[in-house]
């Protein structure tokens, strides 16, 4: 075994020993880190589950502009001209009432169609808007609904679009929360390590006189921070896992009731590893910053 490895192992053992020598303090720290980390982790997981809902709908929203049933070709031409020259519209596609009737007849509904006294379908324009933001879509919809002889304007996939927007908002919030709590975690470890450096002042001074490098002195603290973060990560994973396990059944019932293809997804192994790795890394960072601050000039 080479010296580097021996020293890493010794530092790790020392950190572990320091951690277990104050079990209550370590446990409380792990709990506070864990609770804090569980919030963004749960949020992230919830968003991933919600995303299923929006899938399968058209990616880009379209508007269907339905003419009144008794509108004549002249009225249709006028609307078509207005749509085509509208700056907010990228593309317009006209589907005549006869085309719709023909398509449905070919789709096997001939008998039903033929039994009707007259063609029940209106002339329709399919409009691709330039700006797909929800506000722009809504204002375009009400504007088009006001055109002469237009009966109704339907915003396709409006719901999916709204969900996507909400999910985006949720994602931003989760990231913001995660960033804030990460800073909190780093600060907490920074403080813990700072106190530890104070209590180990004598040992540090003697070690220096005996030829210890900065790296040697800092190492057990780095491991301590990483271990503390790791334990916090474990707590976070446990909280999220247990919480989602409890909620899963209730949510399944609810989804069933509303006939939604939705289920809460449980944490995957890779995601847990990510939480553990991130928590450890943040702990290490807090310790490194703290050691740099508190050992300055010694």
């Amino acid at each position: 075994m080479n010296r580097w490895l021996i020293q890493q192992r010794a530092a790790f053992a020392l950190a572990l020993q320091r951690l277990t020598s104050t079990p209550v303090t370590s446990l409380l720290a792990a709990l506070s880190i864990g609770v804090a980390l569980s919030l963004p982790a749960a949020g992230q997981l919830l968003l991933a589950s919600l995303q299923q809902l929006g899938q399968g709908s058209a990616a880009t929203p379209q508007l269907s502009v339905f003419m009144a049933l008794d509108a004549d070709d002249k009225a249709g031409d006028k609307v078509a001209a207005q749509l085509k020259s509208h700056p907010g519209i990228a593309e317009v596609q006209f589907v005549s009432r006869t085309a719709t009737q023909k398509r449905l007849r070919e789709a096997g509904l001939a008998q039903v169609i033929d039994s009707l006294p007259k063609n029940p379908f209106p002339d329709t324009f399919i409009v691709n808007p330039r700006d797909t933001s929800p506000e722009a879509l809504e204002s375009l919809r009400s504007e088009l609904a006001g055109l002469p002889r237009v009966e109704h304007v339907q915003l396709d996939s409006a719901w999916a679009k709204r969900l996507a927007v909400l999910l985006n908002l949720g994602r931003t919030l989760v990231w913001l929360l995660a960033a804030l709590l990460a800073i909190g975690l780093v600060a907490l470890i920074f403080n813990t390590i700072g106190l530890q450096v104070l209590t180990k002042r004598e040992e540090i001074e003697v070690s220096r006189l005996l030829g210890a490098t900065d790296t040697y002195i800092g190492r057990p603290f780095y491991y301590f921070g990483a271990l503390q973060g790791f334990l916090g990560g474990l707590v976070a994973c446990a909280i999220v896992y247990a919480g989602f396990a409890l909620l899963q059944e209730r949510v399944a019932e609810l989804a069933e009731l509303y006939r939604m293809g939705f289920s809460l997804r449980q944490m995957r192994a890779g995601e847990m590893l990510a939480v553990l790795g991130l928590a450890s890394a943040l702990g290490w960072l807090g310790a490194a910053l703290s050691v740099r601050q508190h050992l300055r000039g010694h």
């Binding site: 070690s207 006189l209 005996l210 490098t213």
Partner: protein, 219 residues
């Protein structure tokens, strides 16, 4: 081995602790550093171990200008120097064995080899049967011998001791003095700051006398 050339040391408060110090110490010698309290003995030893830097002049240890060493290079110098302090600086949160182990842990010795060396060092100072005893349960003489074991366990070529017998009774002091002599006999260069010149009289190969930070003539 050690050479001081026109060395001055002034502490930040403005006090001149050492002035115009010139001497050289040969490899394998046992040198006494004499002087009244406040004469500058501790300061001189600190300059050798790069605990303090000279204000002016050159301190050479094994040909290396230790006053100009970068912070990152100092640990490597210290690993080749055994330090014995007047107040021992033992760690009271671990037993005798672990105290002696510390320099080897710092240097990254393999555990088996380190164990062997700690045993040998404790044996050398007559504390092998106290290996698992906490320092607080050791007598003053035993604590000082433990500190010596820690200083020599890394087999340094240079041993610096700052008033190692100041707090010891006659019997313990003689034993400690004899230990330093034994290390000198196997080739270690030993420098001892002391008030008690008589104690080391039979062993000393050289003397440096300080008074108010200056070397005394005729020493």
């Amino acid at each position: 081995m050690i050479r001081f050339q026109n060395v001055y040391k002034r502490y930040p408060q403005g006090l001149e602790a050492l002035a115009d110090i010139n001497f050289s110490i040969d490899q394998g010698s046992l040198t006494l550093l004499k002087g009244h309290s406040g004469a500058g003995k501790s300061t001189l030893l600190k300059l050798i171990a790069a605990v303090e830097k000279p204000t002016a002049g050159t301190v050479l240890v094994n040909g290396e200008n230790v006053g100009a060493l970068k912070r990152a290079a100092i640990p490597w110098l210290r690993r080749n120097i055994g330090l014995v302090f007047q107040d021992q600086k033992l760690l009271f949160d671990r037993n005798a064995f672990a105290n002696v182990m510390l320099p080897l842990a710092i240097a990254g010795f393999p555990p088996a080899e380190a164990d062997r060396r700690v045993h040998a060092a404790l044996d050398k100072v007559g504390l092998l049967d106290k290996a698992r005893v906490m320092p607080v349960a050791l007598s003053g003489g035993e604590q000082q011998r433990l500190a010596i074991a820690r200083a020599v366990v890394g087999r340094p070529s240079l041993l610096l001791a700052d008033e190692p017998t100041a707090h010891l009774d006659e019997g313990n002091a003689r034993e400690v003095a004899r230990l330093f002599h034994e290390f000198q006999q196997v080739g270690v260069t030993v420098v001892i700051a002391t008030h008690n010149e008589e104690l080391y009289m039979p062993y000393a190969t050289g003397r440096i006398s300080l008074a108010h930070g200056r070397m005394e003539a005729g020493a």
